[in-house]
């Protein structure tokens, strides 16, 4: 039995503890905001926050995540209204196309801004380089992060 602390709530999971956190979040806890894209840490679709830092939930087992503070896109704005500055900026710029990669993009960007509130252009690109968008929304993702960092 693994206990997971996700978005401020405790969940217990009685399955194989070596299964990636991603699948436990999605298939066992029903938190499907976190997406699957590659399973090997190369696309960023599965990005969550572990103790405040961006992490790929496909690379972490449920066991490794236990005892840590896990935040998913559903819990990014604890009020549940989706008004974290990064989420707001994302809507301002109309960043998503299919939208599938954006939970991961937003979680990654939010972790960047938490650590580096005023990132340089290079820092933004370096931070987001692990997040693939096949629809090609990078121009607006970049604009959204700049907007969010400006505190709009």
């Amino acid at each position: 039995m693994v206990t997971l602390h996700v978005n401020g709530q405790d969940f217990s999971y009685d399955g194989d503890p070596s299964v990636p956190l991603l699948w436990v979040l999605r298939d066992e806890l029903g938190l499907t905001g976190t997406k699957f894209g590659c399973g090997i840490g190369l696309c960023g679709a599965c990005t969550v926050h572990i103790d405040g830092a961006a992490a790929r939930s496909c690379l972490l087992t449920a066991e490794q995540a236990s005892g840590k503070e896990v935040v998913t896109i559903e819990g990014l704005d604890p009020s549940g209204n989706g008004n974290h500055p990064v989420q707001v900026a994302w809507r301002e710029t109309g960043a998503p196309q299919c939208g599938y990669c954006h939970a991961g993009q937003i979680m990654n960007a939010a972790a960047l801004l938490a650590k580096t509130p005023k990132p340089s252009q290079e820092e933004i690109l370096a931070a987001q380089n692990g997040n693939i968008c096949r629809c090609g929304c990078y121009q607006r993702i970049n604009e959204a992060i700049i907007l969010a960092s400006a505190g709009v």
């Binding site: 196309q97 939208g99 629809c135 121009q139």
Partner: protein, 773 residues
């Protein structure tokens, strides 16, 4: 509204997170007035104001307000989206047309997704960039009819003539007394009125459109997407659902000979394995076959599959080797092939030309690699099937699932959820068939999850092609001869055995419809047999055709010492209207499925987008060292699109793309903001296919498996300054297509820019390390 299918399989309220079901329940409970087919005489079929080929597709179009609109007493207007959402914004754009034309206030409009049913909703094949082209008018008619019915109801209520009332922003105004009555209060009476026939419809003056053409409306799923609440195919939930990953035959068409699942079944969480039969060729949209591992979660299923031992019979494609195949195609284009267009005397003109410029281009197979891999969730029980899918063709999918299960079409309910990208892959719904078969075999609701490895290794690939062009120039520098040999396995091979030549569909994507003003123009198509499933990939055969043609224009310009843009404009020639059916040797010309009468080739529009894109990028300006400009302009999916690229290549041969300008003429348009997004995205996807992406095969097996070896464009290499310029068009200029075209001109424009910057001509994609010094 008739899409409130209450499945016996799913008890209301047990499906979590599928907000649609709750919304509908809620509406019904509140005593919703439902405009349903029961009020209707016969469904009114749409007569489009511009003539399309929609009626050649199953279901054609439907413009009936009873099918698409529901108004509840509180005034909430619910509009059905019948086309599926993969990221183009269509789920917003078409309902917006209905809302605008019926004078509904967008803030009081809810959009719901129609289930799969081509007959009820009109054709739902969401691809071919045809949703607006085919459905703008039916949706406009639907909105106009609804507005007129509401006006009629208000006039009856006030006992005045209908000319004395006017619908305006969600209410009807009494022009005599200035009284108003809201749509909610009128809905019941309005719904009982006959639907006005198309000939009687009065449309809004386009100048009064509130939403159409403004770009002010955001996509309806935007907030949910930013909150992780938007529901994609992969997010479907059914009570008691199990998760399946499938060991597919490593070679397409291969079969399971035997398997050993003893280790698999020891993996915690794995519950069972099920064999899926491999159907005979042609596979079309059927399952690929293999062994499915079913588990309590996807992670356990993947672990179980890793432990599976399968002995395969690889079948007839086991020797496919893409290196040898390329050599064979390169050999084929040195010889004459099937003649598919033959204007003038190209052979003679090439012989007498003062100069002949020849080049051969190679473009590899590509995988779609939508960020959400193919996925579907199905439950088959009591002779019925309910499925939640990520699928571009929900209507055909409904029919084929029914056929596979041997049950009536009406007993299959397909709920299309959002797609996390699709790009043509999800027109083929083999994974939905898999889910249906596995649910039937187990009696449980099954979610089929394709891993990224499955997606890349068992795709319906973009074709591989070799294109050879020989151009003859006379002593005055005019291009007088053009011979284009195009060699590529056809996507029709997925549907018909022994289909060895490109189909009219593929040849109509840039080859036989070549608009150049060249008197002697011959196109040939040597045979090529497919050894993998070939499918539609965004902009399809325009990728290789536009690459070869637009690169060749650059090569001719270079050979003659001419400016590339001037050369291109000269070759397009004066503004003319062309009908490729009149070109000698062209048979069964395919105009993207639509009439040439409505969408002929208008070369003036092509020239214009080339002029706009080049002007915008500052063509001819002086550039820093290592920079270069290139352009490409192409007609595809009935639109005219040109992209100008500024590239920078450093001393080591690393390239970056500081600026891109795209001009598109897509006729009348609904949502310019999404057109911009799609053009920005096309430049990124174009960067990936130009620079990095390639699928290769050995022993019939795909050699790339994930994003470490199938490379996509990341934010550090993608163009981040893409300007988009949309040619304004009024409603009399038929809409064409937007989703696919942005990809076509990018790679040749980039390679023309690279030539300008470095003097190196790229003839083989991807560029990879060809520029390394």
């Amino acid at each position: 509204m008739t899409h409130m299918f209450e499945s016996a399989l799913i008890q209301p309220g047990t499906v979590v997170n599928l907000s649609r079901r709750f919304v509908l329940k809620g509406l019904a409970a509140a005593g919703t007035l439902v405009i349903g087919t029961s009020f209707l005489p016969a469904p009114a079929r749409a007569a489009s104001a511009w003539k399309t080929g929609a009626d050649l597709m199953t279901g054609g179009t439907v413009n009936n307000p009873h099918v698409f609109i529901a108004i509840d007493p509180s005034g909430i207007v619910t509009i059905l989206a019948s086309r599926t959402e993969m990221g183009t914004g269509i789920r917003t754009s078409l309902p917006m047309v209905v809302a605008d034309e019926m004078e509904a206030d967008w803030s009081r409009v809810r959009v719901e997704q129609a289930p799969g049913d081509n007959i009820k909703y009109g054709n739902q094949d969401t691809d071919g960039s045809r949703s607006v082209r085919h459905f703008f008018w039916p949706m406009r008619q639907c909105g106009a009819a609804m507005r007129m019915m509401l006006e009629q109801a208000a006039a009856a209520r006030w006992e005045i003539d209908v000319t004395s009332v006017r619908a305006q922003n969600h209410e009807v105004v009494n022009l005599v007394t200035s009284e108003v009555v809201g749509y909610g209060a009128l809905a019941k009476a309005a719904s009982a009125l006959p639907v006005p026939p198309v000939e009687a419809l009065r449309y809004k003056d386009p100048r009064d459109f509130r939403y159409i053409g403004t770009g002010a409306i955001q996509i309806v799923d935007l907030r949910d997407i930013t909150m992780g609440k938007a529901t994609y195919g992969l997010d479907a939930k059914m009570p008691g659902m199990k998760f399946a990953v499938i060991a597919h035959p490593p070679v397409v068409g291969g079969k399971v000979v035997s398997y050993d699942a003893s280790e698999t079944l020891k993996v915690p969480g794995v519950e069972k394995v099920v064999v899926l039969e491999t159907p005979p060729f042609p596979l079309a949209f059927q399952q690929l076959g293999g062994v499915a591992v079913i588990a309590r979660n996807t992670g356990s299923a993947i672990k179980g599959r890793d432990k599976l031992k399968v002995v395969w019979d690889d079948g007839p494609n086991a020797s496919y080797d893409s290196v040898a195949y390329r050599a064979q195609m390169e050999e084929s284009v040195t010889k004459p092939g099937l003649v598919v267009r033959d204007d003038g005397d190209a052979e003679g003109a090439l012989k007498s030309a003062a100069k002949v410029i020849s080049a051969t281009y190679y473009l590899p197979h590509l995988a779609h690699a939508s960020m959400e891999p193919p996925t579907a969730t199905a439950h088959v029980a009591d002779g019925k099937c309910v499925a939640y899918v990520s699928c571009q063709w929900p209507g055909d999918c409904q029919a084929d699932v029914a056929k596979t299960l041997g049950i009536p079409r009406e007993d299959v309910t397909i709920y299309p959820l959002l797609m996390g990208g699709a790009f043509g892959r999800k027109s083929c719904y083999d994974y939905v068939i898999e889910a249906a078969l596995l649910s039937k075999a187990t009696g449980q609701p099954i979610k089929v999850v394709w891993t990224r490895e499955d997606d890349l290794q068992h795709d319906t690939y973009h074709t591989v092609s070799v294109e050879r062009i020989d151009a003859g120039v006379d002593k005055d520098g005019k291009v007088i001869a053009w011979r284009h040999r195009t060699c590529a396995p056809s996507l029709m091979s997925t549907f018909k055995n022994d289909y060895d030549h490109q189909s009219p569909i593929e040849l109509g994507m840039g080859v036989v419809d070549n608009p150049f003003d060249i008197p002697n123009l011959r196109c040939e198509n040597p045979a090529a047999k497919a050894h993998v499933r070939i499918g539609w990939f965004r902009v399809v055969s325009n990728i290789p055709h536009a690459f070869a043609i637009q690169s060749m224009v650059g090569e001719i310009a270079a050979a003659l010492g001419r400016d590339q843009r001037d050369m291109l404009l000269e070759m397009i020639g004066p503004a003319r209207t062309l009908d490729p059916r009149t070109f000698r040797g062209v048979k069964d010309f395919w105009n993207y499925g639509d009439p040439v009468e409505t969408w002929p080739i208008e070369t003036g529009r092509l020239s214009r987008v080339v002029e706009i894109a080049t002007e915008q990028i500052g063509w001819g300006r002086s550039l820093p060292k290592g920079h270069g400009l290139g352009v490409a302009g192409h007609r595809c999916f009935l639109s005219y699109i040109a992209t100008a690229v500024e590239v920078a290549v450093d001393d080591k041969g690393n390239l970056s793309i500081p600026r891109v300008e795209t001009a598109i003429d897509c006729g009348f348009y609904i949502n310019p903001e999404r057109i911009r997004a799609l053009c920005e995205g096309g430049a990124v996807m174009g960067t990936a296919l130009a620079k990095n992406s390639e699928m290769t095969f050995k022993n019939g097996r795909a050699q790339q498996s994930n994003f470490h070896d199938f490379l996509l464009a990341r934010i550090t290499e993608a163009p981040l300054k893409v300007g988009v310029h949309i040619v304004p068009a009024d409603v009399n200029i038929p809409s064409s297509g937007v989703g696919e075209p942005p990809l076509a001109p990018f790679a040749p424009a980039l390679c023309n820019a690279i030539f300008a910057a470095t003097g190196k001509r790229i003839r083989n994609l991807p560029i990879g390390n060809q520029l390394a010094t």
